[in-house]
Protein backbone atom coordinates (compact mmCIF):
# COMPACT_ATOMS: atom_id res chain seq x y z
CA UNK A 1 0.00 0.00 0.00
CA UNK A 2 2.84 2.28 0.87
CA UNK A 3 4.88 1.97 -2.24
CA UNK A 4 4.17 4.66 -4.71
CA UNK A 5 3.47 3.09 -8.01
CA UNK A 6 3.82 4.92 -11.24
CA UNK A 7 2.30 3.29 -14.22
CA UNK A 8 4.17 4.31 -17.30
CA UNK A 9 2.90 2.27 -20.17
CA UNK A 10 6.00 3.09 -22.15
CA UNK A 11 6.30 5.81 -24.70
CA UNK A 12 3.55 5.64 -27.26
CA UNK A 13 4.79 4.74 -30.63
CA UNK A 14 4.11 8.13 -32.14
CA UNK A 15 6.89 7.28 -34.54
CA UNK A 16 5.28 6.10 -37.68
CA UNK A 17 6.70 4.63 -40.78
CA UNK A 18 8.75 7.85 -41.19
CA UNK A 19 11.02 6.37 -38.59
CA UNK A 20 11.10 9.78 -36.84
CA UNK A 21 11.35 10.23 -33.09
CA UNK A 22 8.41 10.86 -30.78
CA UNK A 23 7.16 14.39 -31.21
CA UNK A 24 8.91 16.92 -33.37
CA UNK A 25 9.49 19.43 -30.58
CA UNK A 26 12.34 19.43 -28.14
CA UNK A 27 11.12 19.27 -24.55
CA UNK A 28 11.19 22.82 -23.24
CA UNK A 29 11.26 21.93 -19.58
CA UNK A 30 11.92 18.86 -17.55
CA UNK A 31 8.97 17.27 -15.85
CA UNK A 32 9.16 17.81 -12.09
CA UNK A 33 7.49 14.43 -11.63
CA UNK A 34 4.90 13.70 -9.02
CA UNK A 35 4.85 15.41 -5.64
CA UNK A 36 5.80 13.07 -2.84
CA UNK A 37 2.80 11.00 -1.83
CA UNK A 38 1.17 12.24 1.39
CA UNK A 39 0.08 9.32 3.50
CA UNK A 40 -3.22 9.48 5.31
CA UNK A 41 -3.48 8.59 8.96
CA UNK A 42 -5.39 5.49 8.01
CA UNK A 43 -2.54 4.43 5.70
CA UNK A 44 0.00 4.47 8.53
CA UNK A 45 -1.96 3.68 11.67
CA UNK A 46 -4.08 0.52 11.63
CA UNK A 47 -6.05 1.90 14.60
CA UNK A 48 -6.99 5.00 12.62
CA UNK A 49 -7.99 2.80 9.70
CA UNK A 50 -10.19 0.80 12.04
CA UNK A 51 -11.74 4.04 13.30
CA UNK A 52 -12.48 5.19 9.75
CA UNK A 53 -14.02 1.82 9.06
CA UNK A 54 -16.33 2.24 12.04
CA UNK A 55 -17.27 5.74 10.88
CA UNK A 56 -18.24 4.48 7.46
CA UNK A 57 -20.23 1.66 9.03
CA UNK A 58 -21.94 4.19 11.31
CA UNK A 59 -23.02 6.30 8.33
CA UNK A 60 -24.42 3.22 6.58
CA UNK A 61 -26.16 2.21 9.83
CA UNK A 62 -27.65 5.70 10.10
CA UNK A 63 -29.00 5.28 6.60
CA UNK A 64 -30.71 2.07 7.68
CA UNK A 65 -32.30 3.94 10.59
CA UNK A 66 -33.53 6.59 8.15
CA UNK A 67 -35.16 3.91 6.03
CA UNK A 68 -36.79 2.46 9.14
CA UNK A 69 -38.03 5.93 10.14
CA UNK A 70 -39.60 6.30 6.70
CA UNK A 71 -41.35 2.94 6.91
CA UNK A 72 -42.56 3.48 10.48
CA UNK A 73 -43.78 7.01 9.70
CA UNK A 74 -45.58 5.78 6.60
CA UNK A 75 -47.69 3.37 8.60
CA UNK A 76 -47.86 5.20 11.95
CA UNK A 77 -49.26 8.54 10.76
CA UNK A 78 -52.76 7.67 9.66
CA UNK A 79 -54.46 10.08 7.27
CA UNK A 80 -57.74 8.19 7.02
CA UNK A 81 -60.93 9.14 8.81
CA UNK A 82 -59.88 12.63 9.80
CA UNK A 83 -60.78 15.95 8.28
CA UNK A 84 -60.19 19.67 8.48
CA UNK A 85 -57.35 21.06 10.55
CA UNK A 86 -56.48 17.71 12.12
CA UNK A 87 -56.03 16.25 8.64
CA UNK A 88 -53.70 19.10 7.63
CA UNK A 89 -51.72 18.68 10.85
CA UNK A 90 -51.24 15.00 10.13
CA UNK A 91 -50.26 15.67 6.53
CA UNK A 92 -47.68 18.12 7.85
CA UNK A 93 -46.30 15.56 10.33
CA UNK A 94 -46.30 12.77 7.74
CA UNK A 95 -44.56 14.93 5.13
CA UNK A 96 -41.84 15.95 7.56
CA UNK A 97 -41.15 12.45 8.88
CA UNK A 98 -41.14 10.87 5.41
CA UNK A 99 -38.85 13.59 4.10
CA UNK A 100 -36.53 13.31 7.09
CA UNK A 101 -36.33 9.51 6.81
CA UNK A 102 -35.74 9.57 3.06
CA UNK A 103 -33.19 12.37 3.42
CA UNK A 104 -31.20 10.57 6.11
CA UNK A 105 -31.37 7.25 4.26
CA UNK A 106 -30.08 8.63 0.97
CA UNK A 107 -27.65 11.23 2.28
CA UNK A 108 -25.92 8.82 4.66
CA UNK A 109 -25.37 6.19 1.95
CA UNK A 110 -23.71 8.84 -0.20
CA UNK A 111 -21.72 10.31 2.68
CA UNK A 112 -20.58 6.85 3.80
CA UNK A 113 -19.44 5.91 0.31
CA UNK A 114 -17.50 9.15 -0.09
CA UNK A 115 -15.94 8.82 3.36
CA UNK A 116 -14.95 5.24 2.55
CA UNK A 117 -13.42 6.22 -0.78
CA UNK A 118 -11.57 9.21 0.65
CA UNK A 119 -10.10 7.64 3.73
CA UNK A 120 -9.69 3.91 3.07
CA UNK A 121 -9.54 3.20 -0.63
CA UNK A 122 -6.10 3.51 -2.31
CA UNK A 123 -5.22 7.07 -3.24
CA UNK A 124 -1.89 6.51 -4.99
CA UNK A 125 -1.08 8.86 -7.82
CA UNK A 126 -1.10 7.15 -11.20
CA UNK A 127 0.24 8.49 -14.49
CA UNK A 128 -1.32 7.33 -17.73
CA UNK A 129 0.33 8.86 -20.77
CA UNK A 130 -1.94 10.09 -23.48
CA UNK A 131 -2.12 7.96 -26.59
CA UNK A 132 -1.54 9.49 -30.05
CA UNK A 133 -4.73 10.76 -31.64
CA UNK A 134 -3.86 9.78 -35.20
CA UNK A 135 -4.89 6.33 -36.37
CA UNK A 136 -2.42 4.23 -38.25
CA UNK A 137 -2.28 4.82 -41.99
CA UNK A 138 -3.56 1.32 -42.62
CA UNK A 139 -6.71 2.01 -40.64
CA UNK A 140 -7.19 5.34 -42.32
CA UNK A 141 -6.94 4.05 -45.87
CA UNK A 142 -9.16 1.11 -44.96
CA UNK A 143 -11.86 3.49 -43.62
CA UNK A 144 -11.78 5.53 -46.83
CA UNK A 145 -12.05 2.37 -48.86
CA UNK A 146 -15.10 1.25 -46.85
CA UNK A 147 -16.82 4.59 -47.44
CA UNK A 148 -16.16 4.52 -51.15
CA UNK A 149 -17.39 0.97 -51.39
CA UNK A 150 -20.57 1.86 -49.48
CA UNK A 151 -21.30 4.86 -51.70
CA UNK A 152 -20.79 2.79 -54.80
CA UNK A 153 -23.07 0.05 -53.44
CA UNK A 154 -25.83 2.50 -52.61
CA UNK A 155 -25.67 3.75 -56.16
CA UNK A 156 -26.60 7.32 -55.32
CA UNK A 157 -24.76 8.58 -58.35
CA UNK A 158 -26.41 6.05 -60.63
CA UNK A 159 -30.03 5.89 -59.42
CA UNK A 160 -31.14 9.47 -60.10
CA UNK A 161 -34.79 8.76 -59.32
CA UNK A 162 -34.02 7.77 -55.76
CA UNK A 163 -31.63 10.66 -55.25
CA UNK A 164 -34.09 13.23 -56.55
CA UNK A 165 -37.07 11.88 -54.66
CA UNK A 166 -34.97 11.81 -51.49
CA UNK A 167 -34.08 15.45 -51.99
CA UNK A 168 -37.75 16.15 -52.61
CA UNK A 169 -38.61 14.54 -49.31
CA UNK A 170 -35.89 16.27 -47.30
CA UNK A 171 -36.46 19.81 -48.55
CA UNK A 172 -40.09 20.19 -47.37
CA UNK A 173 -39.10 18.69 -44.00
CA UNK A 174 -37.89 22.17 -43.09
CA UNK A 175 -41.47 23.39 -43.49
CA UNK A 176 -42.48 21.26 -40.52
CA UNK A 177 -40.45 23.59 -38.35
CA UNK A 178 -41.90 26.71 -39.98
CA UNK A 179 -45.61 25.79 -40.18
CA UNK A 180 -46.25 25.79 -36.39
CA UNK A 181 -44.99 29.38 -36.24
CA UNK A 182 -48.48 30.23 -37.43
CA UNK A 183 -49.60 29.60 -33.84
CA UNK A 184 -47.90 32.89 -32.96
CA UNK A 185 -50.82 34.53 -34.74
CA UNK A 186 -53.33 35.59 -35.74
CA UNK A 187 -52.51 39.17 -34.84
CA UNK A 188 -54.68 40.49 -32.01
CA UNK A 189 -56.26 43.16 -34.20
CA UNK A 190 -57.80 45.83 -32.01
CA UNK A 191 -58.24 43.50 -29.00
CA UNK A 192 -55.46 45.24 -27.11
CA UNK A 193 -57.09 48.60 -27.61
CA UNK A 194 -60.60 47.54 -26.66
CA UNK A 195 -62.00 46.68 -23.24
CA UNK A 196 -65.41 45.51 -22.06
CA UNK A 197 -66.26 49.07 -20.96
CA UNK A 198 -68.72 50.98 -23.13
CA UNK A 199 -70.96 53.97 -22.64
CA UNK A 200 -73.58 53.20 -20.00
CA UNK A 201 -71.82 50.13 -18.50
CA UNK A 202 -72.70 49.96 -14.83
CA UNK A 203 -69.81 49.64 -12.39
CA UNK A 204 -70.25 46.49 -10.30
CA UNK A 205 -68.07 45.43 -7.38
CA UNK A 206 -65.55 42.64 -7.76
CA UNK A 207 -66.22 39.88 -6.72
CA UNK A 208 -69.73 40.48 -5.32
CA UNK A 209 -71.17 41.99 -8.53
CA UNK A 210 -73.25 44.70 -6.83
CA UNK A 211 -73.80 48.01 -8.64
CA UNK A 212 -72.18 50.97 -6.92
CA UNK A 213 -74.26 53.97 -5.81
CA UNK A 214 -72.30 57.20 -6.09
CA UNK A 215 -73.63 58.30 -2.71
CA UNK A 216 -72.21 55.20 -1.05
CA UNK A 217 -68.58 55.84 -1.96
CA UNK A 218 -67.11 57.78 0.98
CA UNK A 219 -64.25 60.25 0.68
CA UNK A 220 -61.08 58.17 0.98
CA UNK A 221 -63.00 55.13 -0.14
CA UNK A 222 -61.92 52.62 -2.75
CA UNK A 223 -64.01 50.19 -4.80
CA UNK A 224 -62.64 47.56 -7.15
CA UNK A 225 -65.08 47.30 -10.05
CA UNK A 226 -65.76 45.57 -13.35
CA UNK A 227 -68.31 46.38 -16.06
CA UNK A 228 -71.66 44.74 -15.49
CA UNK A 229 -72.15 41.51 -17.42
CA UNK A 230 -68.46 40.81 -17.91
CA UNK A 231 -68.86 37.23 -16.66
CA UNK A 232 -71.29 36.50 -19.49
CA UNK A 233 -68.79 37.49 -22.17
CA UNK A 234 -66.95 35.02 -24.37
CA UNK A 235 -63.63 35.02 -22.54
CA UNK A 236 -64.44 36.48 -19.13
CA UNK A 237 -60.93 36.02 -17.70
CA UNK A 238 -59.29 37.75 -20.66
CA UNK A 239 -61.83 40.55 -20.46
CA UNK A 240 -61.28 40.95 -16.69
CA UNK A 241 -57.56 41.21 -17.27
CA UNK A 242 -58.18 44.34 -19.34
CA UNK A 243 -61.25 45.81 -17.68
CA UNK A 244 -60.27 45.90 -13.98
CA UNK A 245 -60.90 49.41 -12.70
CA UNK A 246 -60.31 51.07 -9.36
CA UNK A 247 -62.81 53.69 -8.18
CA UNK A 248 -61.51 56.21 -5.69
CA UNK A 249 -63.20 59.18 -4.07
CA UNK A 250 -61.19 62.22 -3.06
CA UNK A 251 -62.40 65.48 -1.61
CA UNK A 252 -63.38 67.36 -4.81
CA UNK A 253 -61.09 70.29 -3.95
CA UNK A 254 -58.10 67.94 -3.83
CA UNK A 255 -58.65 66.77 -7.38
CA UNK A 256 -56.67 68.51 -10.11
CA UNK A 257 -58.26 67.89 -13.50
CA UNK A 258 -57.21 68.68 -17.01
CA UNK A 259 -59.68 70.87 -18.92
CA UNK A 260 -60.26 68.17 -21.52
CA UNK A 261 -61.28 65.77 -18.77
CA UNK A 262 -63.74 68.00 -16.95
CA UNK A 263 -66.84 65.95 -16.37
CA UNK A 264 -65.01 62.63 -16.26
CA UNK A 265 -65.26 62.58 -12.45
CA UNK A 266 -68.36 62.76 -10.30
CA UNK A 267 -68.31 64.54 -6.93
CA UNK A 268 -64.65 63.69 -6.48
CA UNK A 269 -65.15 60.10 -7.61
CA UNK A 270 -62.63 59.04 -10.25
CA UNK A 271 -62.08 55.73 -12.00
CA UNK A 272 -58.77 54.52 -13.40
CA UNK A 273 -57.64 51.36 -15.15
CA UNK A 274 -55.99 49.04 -12.69
CA UNK A 275 -53.62 47.61 -15.27
CA UNK A 276 -50.17 49.09 -14.86
CA UNK A 277 -48.83 50.90 -17.92
CA UNK A 278 -45.43 49.36 -17.25
CA UNK A 279 -45.94 45.60 -17.67
CA UNK A 280 -49.58 45.15 -16.73
CA UNK A 281 -49.61 44.20 -13.05
CA UNK A 282 -52.77 45.09 -11.12
CA UNK A 283 -52.13 48.47 -9.50
CA UNK A 284 -54.02 48.25 -6.25
CA UNK A 285 -52.14 49.67 -3.28
CA UNK A 286 -53.90 52.96 -2.58
CA UNK A 287 -52.62 55.25 0.15
CA UNK A 288 -55.52 57.32 1.31
CA UNK A 289 -53.49 60.16 2.82
CA UNK A 290 -51.01 60.75 -0.02
CA UNK A 291 -53.48 59.79 -2.81
CA UNK A 292 -50.74 57.62 -4.23
CA UNK A 293 -51.56 54.45 -6.08
CA UNK A 294 -48.73 51.94 -5.96
CA UNK A 295 -48.01 48.97 -8.19
CA UNK A 296 -46.79 45.99 -6.18
CA UNK A 297 -44.57 44.57 -8.92
CA UNK A 298 -42.09 47.35 -9.65
CA UNK A 299 -43.22 50.17 -7.35
CA UNK A 300 -44.55 52.45 -10.06
CA UNK A 301 -46.44 55.13 -8.16
CA UNK A 302 -49.32 57.16 -9.60
CA UNK A 303 -50.76 60.35 -8.12
CA UNK A 304 -54.53 59.95 -8.18
CA UNK A 305 -55.07 63.61 -7.28
CA UNK A 306 -53.15 64.60 -10.41
CA UNK A 307 -54.64 62.46 -13.20
CA UNK A 308 -52.68 59.39 -12.07
CA UNK A 309 -49.42 60.97 -13.23
CA UNK A 310 -46.37 58.79 -12.65
CA UNK A 311 -44.49 60.10 -9.60
CA UNK A 312 -42.11 57.18 -9.19
CA UNK A 313 -41.05 53.96 -10.85
CA UNK A 314 -40.67 52.53 -14.34
CA UNK A 315 -44.18 53.19 -15.71
CA UNK A 316 -44.05 55.45 -18.76
CA UNK A 317 -47.62 56.78 -18.86
CA UNK A 318 -50.37 57.73 -16.43
CA UNK A 319 -53.06 55.11 -15.87
CA UNK A 320 -55.91 55.55 -18.39
CA UNK A 321 -58.98 57.22 -16.87
CA UNK A 322 -62.51 55.89 -17.28
CA UNK A 323 -65.04 58.74 -17.69
CA UNK A 324 -67.82 58.42 -15.13
CA UNK A 325 -71.47 59.42 -14.98
CA UNK A 326 -74.44 58.60 -12.81
CA UNK A 327 -77.62 56.98 -14.10
CA UNK A 328 -81.18 57.89 -13.13
CA UNK A 329 -81.09 55.57 -10.11
CA UNK A 330 -77.89 57.10 -8.74
CA UNK A 331 -75.59 54.23 -9.77
CA UNK A 332 -72.16 54.90 -11.25
CA UNK A 333 -71.90 54.13 -14.97
CA UNK A 334 -69.17 54.59 -17.55
CA UNK A 335 -69.73 57.70 -19.65
CA UNK A 336 -67.76 55.98 -22.41
CA UNK A 337 -65.11 53.34 -22.76
CA UNK A 338 -61.43 54.13 -22.24
CA UNK A 339 -60.10 56.77 -24.61
CA UNK A 340 -56.74 54.99 -24.97
CA UNK A 341 -55.56 51.37 -24.78
CA UNK A 342 -55.08 50.19 -21.20
CA UNK A 343 -52.01 48.41 -19.90
CA UNK A 344 -48.44 48.22 -21.10
CA UNK A 345 -47.04 49.51 -24.40
CA UNK A 346 -47.27 47.45 -27.55
CA UNK A 347 -45.96 47.95 -31.05
CA UNK A 348 -49.07 49.29 -32.74
CA UNK A 349 -50.14 51.44 -29.77
CA UNK A 350 -51.27 54.85 -30.96
CA UNK A 351 -51.06 53.90 -34.65
CA UNK A 352 -54.75 53.30 -35.18
Amino acid sequence: MSDQHHTNPGHPSGADEDGGTTGALEPRFTSPGLAPHAYRRSDIDPKAAKRREREVAMLFGLSTLGTLLFIVAYFAVKLENVGGTEMLNRVALSTRLLGLGLGIAMFCIGAGAIHWAKTLMPDDEIVNDRKPMRSSDENRSAAVAYLKEGAAGAGLGRRKLIRNSLLGALAPLGLLALIPLRDLGPLPGDKLARTAWKAGSRLVTDPSGNPVKASEVPIGGVVHVLPEGINDMGHPLEERAKAAVIVIRLAPEELRERKSRRGWSYNGIVAYSQICTHVGCPVGLYEQQTHHLLCPCHQSTFDVANQCAVVFGPAARPLPQLPLAVDSEGYLVAKSGFHEPVGPSFWERGKR
Binding site: N89, P218, Y286, P296, F312
Partner: protein, 272 residues
Protein backbone atom coordinates in the same frame (compact mmCIF):
# COMPACT_ATOMS: atom_id res chain seq x y z
CA UNK B 1 6.32 26.22 29.91
CA UNK B 2 5.96 24.16 26.80
CA UNK B 3 2.34 23.46 27.76
CA UNK B 4 1.73 27.20 28.00
CA UNK B 5 3.35 27.70 24.66
CA UNK B 6 1.20 25.07 23.03
CA UNK B 7 -1.96 26.66 24.45
CA UNK B 8 -0.99 30.06 23.08
CA UNK B 9 -0.01 28.49 19.84
CA UNK B 10 -3.43 26.93 19.57
CA UNK B 11 -5.22 30.19 20.39
CA UNK B 12 -3.39 32.17 17.77
CA UNK B 13 -3.94 29.39 15.27
CA UNK B 14 -7.63 29.65 15.96
CA UNK B 15 -7.49 33.39 15.49
CA UNK B 16 -6.03 32.84 12.09
CA UNK B 17 -8.83 30.45 11.24
CA UNK B 18 -10.49 31.04 7.88
CA UNK B 19 -13.86 31.72 9.48
CA UNK B 20 -12.48 34.18 12.03
CA UNK B 21 -13.34 37.34 9.98
CA UNK B 22 -16.89 36.07 9.47
CA UNK B 23 -17.38 35.38 13.18
CA UNK B 24 -15.94 38.78 14.05
CA UNK B 25 -18.26 40.49 11.54
CA UNK B 26 -21.33 38.82 13.03
CA UNK B 27 -20.22 39.69 16.54
CA UNK B 28 -19.71 43.33 15.56
CA UNK B 29 -23.12 43.48 13.83
CA UNK B 30 -24.86 41.95 16.83
CA UNK B 31 -23.12 44.34 19.20
CA UNK B 32 -24.09 47.43 17.16
CA UNK B 33 -27.67 46.25 16.76
CA UNK B 34 -27.95 45.47 20.45
CA UNK B 35 -26.52 48.85 21.42
CA UNK B 36 -28.96 50.61 19.11
CA UNK B 37 -31.92 48.71 20.51
CA UNK B 38 -30.80 49.55 24.05
CA UNK B 39 -30.21 53.26 23.54
CA UNK B 40 -32.63 54.28 20.81
CA UNK B 41 -35.52 56.39 22.12
CA UNK B 42 -38.57 54.18 22.36
CA UNK B 43 -41.65 55.80 20.89
CA UNK B 44 -43.66 54.62 23.84
CA UNK B 45 -41.53 56.52 26.31
CA UNK B 46 -42.26 59.75 24.46
CA UNK B 47 -45.95 59.15 24.08
CA UNK B 48 -48.20 61.06 26.39
CA UNK B 49 -49.03 58.70 29.21
CA UNK B 50 -52.71 58.02 29.51
CA UNK B 51 -53.80 59.67 32.70
CA UNK B 52 -55.93 56.76 33.65
CA UNK B 53 -55.59 57.68 37.34
CA UNK B 54 -57.77 60.73 36.74
CA UNK B 55 -60.19 58.92 34.55
CA UNK B 56 -63.75 60.12 34.69
CA UNK B 57 -66.78 58.98 32.83
CA UNK B 58 -66.47 62.15 30.85
CA UNK B 59 -64.84 61.45 27.50
CA UNK B 60 -64.48 65.19 27.06
CA UNK B 61 -62.18 65.50 30.04
CA UNK B 62 -60.12 62.62 28.74
CA UNK B 63 -60.07 64.18 25.30
CA UNK B 64 -58.93 67.57 26.56
CA UNK B 65 -56.20 66.00 28.62
CA UNK B 66 -54.89 63.46 26.12
CA UNK B 67 -55.89 64.37 22.60
CA UNK B 68 -56.53 68.07 22.32
CA UNK B 69 -52.87 69.12 22.17
CA UNK B 70 -52.76 67.73 18.64
CA UNK B 71 -56.38 67.38 17.54
CA UNK B 72 -57.51 70.77 18.91
CA UNK B 73 -59.80 71.66 21.79
CA UNK B 74 -62.90 70.88 19.74
CA UNK B 75 -61.36 68.06 17.71
CA UNK B 76 -60.98 70.36 14.73
CA UNK B 77 -57.47 69.10 13.90
CA UNK B 78 -54.16 70.91 13.73
CA UNK B 79 -54.82 72.39 10.31
CA UNK B 80 -51.32 71.58 9.07
CA UNK B 81 -52.34 68.10 7.97
CA UNK B 82 -50.42 66.36 10.72
CA UNK B 83 -53.37 65.78 13.04
CA UNK B 84 -56.66 65.30 11.23
CA UNK B 85 -59.99 66.75 12.28
CA UNK B 86 -62.00 64.30 14.37
CA UNK B 87 -65.37 65.79 13.50
CA UNK B 88 -67.35 63.05 11.79
CA UNK B 89 -64.77 60.25 12.18
CA UNK B 90 -67.21 58.46 14.46
CA UNK B 91 -66.92 56.19 17.47
CA UNK B 92 -65.55 53.30 15.37
CA UNK B 93 -62.45 55.31 14.49
CA UNK B 94 -61.72 56.18 18.14
CA UNK B 95 -62.30 52.61 19.25
CA UNK B 96 -59.85 51.38 16.61
CA UNK B 97 -57.13 54.01 17.04
CA UNK B 98 -57.14 54.06 20.84
CA UNK B 99 -58.12 50.41 21.24
CA UNK B 100 -55.09 49.20 19.25
CA UNK B 101 -52.76 51.64 21.06
CA UNK B 102 -52.06 53.67 17.91
CA UNK B 103 -53.41 56.79 19.64
CA UNK B 104 -52.16 58.70 21.50
CA UNK B 105 -49.26 58.94 19.07
CA UNK B 106 -45.90 60.61 19.44
CA UNK B 107 -44.64 63.29 17.05
CA UNK B 108 -41.75 60.94 16.26
CA UNK B 109 -44.10 58.34 14.89
CA UNK B 110 -43.85 59.42 11.30
CA UNK B 111 -44.61 58.39 8.66
CA UNK B 112 -46.69 55.67 10.28
CA UNK B 113 -48.24 55.28 13.70
CA UNK B 114 -47.72 51.66 14.75
CA UNK B 115 -49.88 49.60 17.11
CA UNK B 116 -48.61 49.83 20.69
CA UNK B 117 -49.71 48.68 24.14
CA UNK B 118 -53.14 50.17 24.81
CA UNK B 119 -53.01 53.14 27.18
CA UNK B 120 -56.66 53.42 28.21
CA UNK B 121 -59.16 51.08 29.82
CA UNK B 122 -62.07 49.84 27.71
CA UNK B 123 -64.37 52.12 29.74
CA UNK B 124 -62.24 55.17 29.00
CA UNK B 125 -62.08 54.28 25.33
CA UNK B 126 -65.87 54.02 25.26
CA UNK B 127 -66.18 57.44 26.90
CA UNK B 128 -63.73 58.99 24.41
CA UNK B 129 -65.56 57.34 21.52
CA UNK B 130 -68.90 58.68 22.78
CA UNK B 131 -67.47 62.19 23.01
CA UNK B 132 -65.93 62.15 19.53
CA UNK B 133 -69.13 60.65 18.09
CA UNK B 134 -71.01 63.64 19.56
CA UNK B 135 -68.84 66.05 17.52
CA UNK B 136 -70.37 64.90 14.25
CA UNK B 137 -72.09 61.86 12.79
CA UNK B 138 -69.75 59.03 11.82
CA UNK B 139 -69.53 55.25 11.76
CA UNK B 140 -70.49 53.56 15.02
CA UNK B 141 -68.67 50.75 16.81
CA UNK B 142 -69.92 47.45 15.30
CA UNK B 143 -72.17 45.31 17.46
CA UNK B 144 -71.09 41.91 18.77
CA UNK B 145 -73.41 40.31 16.25
CA UNK B 146 -71.85 42.20 13.34
CA UNK B 147 -68.41 40.79 14.11
CA UNK B 148 -69.56 37.31 15.06
CA UNK B 149 -67.92 35.41 12.25
CA UNK B 150 -68.86 31.93 13.39
CA UNK B 151 -71.67 31.73 10.85
CA UNK B 152 -69.97 33.76 8.12
CA UNK B 153 -68.73 32.39 4.79
CA UNK B 154 -64.93 32.24 4.94
CA UNK B 155 -64.63 31.19 1.28
CA UNK B 156 -66.60 34.22 0.07
CA UNK B 157 -64.54 36.33 2.47
CA UNK B 158 -61.40 34.97 0.84
CA UNK B 159 -62.56 36.10 -2.60
CA UNK B 160 -63.37 39.57 -1.26
CA UNK B 161 -60.08 39.71 0.62
CA UNK B 162 -58.03 38.82 -2.45
CA UNK B 163 -59.66 41.54 -4.55
CA UNK B 164 -59.77 44.30 -1.96
CA UNK B 165 -57.16 43.70 0.72
CA UNK B 166 -54.45 41.26 -0.39
CA UNK B 167 -52.54 43.78 -2.51
CA UNK B 168 -51.42 45.60 0.65
CA UNK B 169 -51.90 43.15 3.51
CA UNK B 170 -50.45 40.10 1.67
CA UNK B 171 -52.33 36.96 0.60
CA UNK B 172 -52.08 35.52 4.09
CA UNK B 173 -52.59 38.75 6.06
CA UNK B 174 -48.89 39.01 6.86
CA UNK B 175 -48.75 42.69 5.93
CA UNK B 176 -46.54 44.40 3.37
CA UNK B 177 -44.55 47.48 2.45
CA UNK B 178 -46.00 50.73 1.11
CA UNK B 179 -44.07 53.82 0.03
CA UNK B 180 -41.71 56.04 2.04
CA UNK B 181 -41.43 53.77 5.08
CA UNK B 182 -45.16 53.23 5.44
CA UNK B 183 -46.48 49.70 5.63
CA UNK B 184 -49.68 47.72 5.81
CA UNK B 185 -49.53 45.95 9.18
CA UNK B 186 -49.92 42.22 9.69
CA UNK B 187 -53.51 41.23 10.46
CA UNK B 188 -52.58 38.26 12.63
CA UNK B 189 -54.02 38.52 16.10
CA UNK B 190 -56.13 41.59 15.33
CA UNK B 191 -59.53 41.28 16.99
CA UNK B 192 -62.58 40.93 14.72
CA UNK B 193 -63.94 44.23 16.03
CA UNK B 194 -60.78 46.13 15.13
CA UNK B 195 -60.62 44.52 11.66
CA UNK B 196 -64.22 45.60 11.08
CA UNK B 197 -63.54 49.14 12.31
CA UNK B 198 -60.43 49.44 10.14
CA UNK B 199 -62.42 48.54 7.02
CA UNK B 200 -65.19 50.93 8.04
CA UNK B 201 -63.01 53.96 8.86
CA UNK B 202 -59.83 53.57 6.78
CA UNK B 203 -57.17 54.47 9.35
CA UNK B 204 -54.04 56.29 8.12
CA UNK B 205 -53.02 55.10 4.63
CA UNK B 206 -55.81 52.55 4.39
CA UNK B 207 -58.75 53.45 2.16
CA UNK B 208 -62.33 53.39 3.45
CA UNK B 209 -64.56 50.40 2.67
CA UNK B 210 -67.99 51.78 3.45
CA UNK B 211 -71.00 49.59 4.17
CA UNK B 212 -72.45 50.64 0.81
CA UNK B 213 -69.62 49.12 -1.21
CA UNK B 214 -68.49 46.37 1.18
CA UNK B 215 -71.63 45.28 3.01
CA UNK B 216 -71.60 44.28 6.70
CA UNK B 217 -72.01 40.67 5.56
CA UNK B 218 -68.98 41.03 3.28
CA UNK B 219 -66.95 42.47 6.15
CA UNK B 220 -67.93 39.59 8.42
CA UNK B 221 -66.95 37.13 5.69
CA UNK B 222 -63.54 38.78 5.41
CA UNK B 223 -63.07 38.46 9.18
CA UNK B 224 -64.05 34.80 9.00
CA UNK B 225 -61.48 34.24 6.26
CA UNK B 226 -58.72 35.97 8.23
CA UNK B 227 -59.50 34.00 11.36
CA UNK B 228 -59.64 30.73 9.45
CA UNK B 229 -56.19 31.20 7.90
CA UNK B 230 -54.80 32.21 11.31
CA UNK B 231 -55.60 28.77 12.70
CA UNK B 232 -54.61 26.96 9.53
CA UNK B 233 -51.61 24.64 9.88
CA UNK B 234 -48.80 24.56 7.31
CA UNK B 235 -48.88 21.11 5.74
CA UNK B 236 -45.94 21.99 3.52
CA UNK B 237 -43.57 22.69 6.39
CA UNK B 238 -42.30 25.94 7.88
CA UNK B 239 -44.37 28.95 6.80
CA UNK B 240 -41.38 31.34 6.91
CA UNK B 241 -43.70 34.17 7.87
CA UNK B 242 -45.98 33.54 4.89
CA UNK B 243 -44.49 36.50 3.08
CA UNK B 244 -43.94 34.64 -0.15
CA UNK B 245 -40.90 34.35 -2.37
CA UNK B 246 -38.62 36.70 -0.41
CA UNK B 247 -38.20 34.60 2.70
CA UNK B 248 -38.53 31.36 0.78
CA UNK B 249 -35.86 32.45 -1.68
CA UNK B 250 -33.56 33.60 1.10
CA UNK B 251 -33.81 30.25 2.87
CA UNK B 252 -33.45 28.38 -0.42
CA UNK B 253 -30.32 30.29 -1.36
CA UNK B 254 -28.64 30.51 2.01
CA UNK B 255 -29.54 27.14 3.56
CA UNK B 256 -30.03 25.06 0.42
CA UNK B 257 -27.10 26.42 -1.57
CA UNK B 258 -25.00 26.55 1.60
CA UNK B 259 -25.50 22.83 2.15
CA UNK B 260 -24.70 22.06 -1.48
CA UNK B 261 -21.53 24.14 -1.35
CA UNK B 262 -20.57 22.51 1.94
CA UNK B 263 -20.96 19.07 0.37
CA UNK B 264 -18.95 20.13 -2.67
CA UNK B 265 -16.12 21.46 -0.50
CA UNK B 266 -16.07 18.21 1.49
CA UNK B 267 -16.07 16.15 -1.69
CA UNK B 268 -13.10 18.05 -3.05
CA UNK B 269 -11.07 18.20 0.15
CA UNK B 270 -8.16 15.80 0.48
CA UNK B 271 -8.46 13.29 3.27
CA UNK B 272 -5.75 13.42 5.94
Amino acid sequence: MSALKSVFGRVSARRRHRLAPLVLLFAALAATGGAYAAFAPSPQAEAAPGSSSQATDEGKVLFLRNCSSCHGLKGEGSGDGRSPSLIGVGAASVDFQVGTGRMPAARSEVPQVPAKPVQFSQKEIAALAAYVASLGPGPAIPSKEQVDFSKADAAAGGAIYRTNCAMCHNFAGSGGALTQGKFAPSLKGTTPKHIYEAMLTGPQSMPVFSDGTLTPTDKRDVIAFLKSIESEPNPGGASLGRIGPVSEGAVGWIVGMGMLIGCAVWLGAKAR
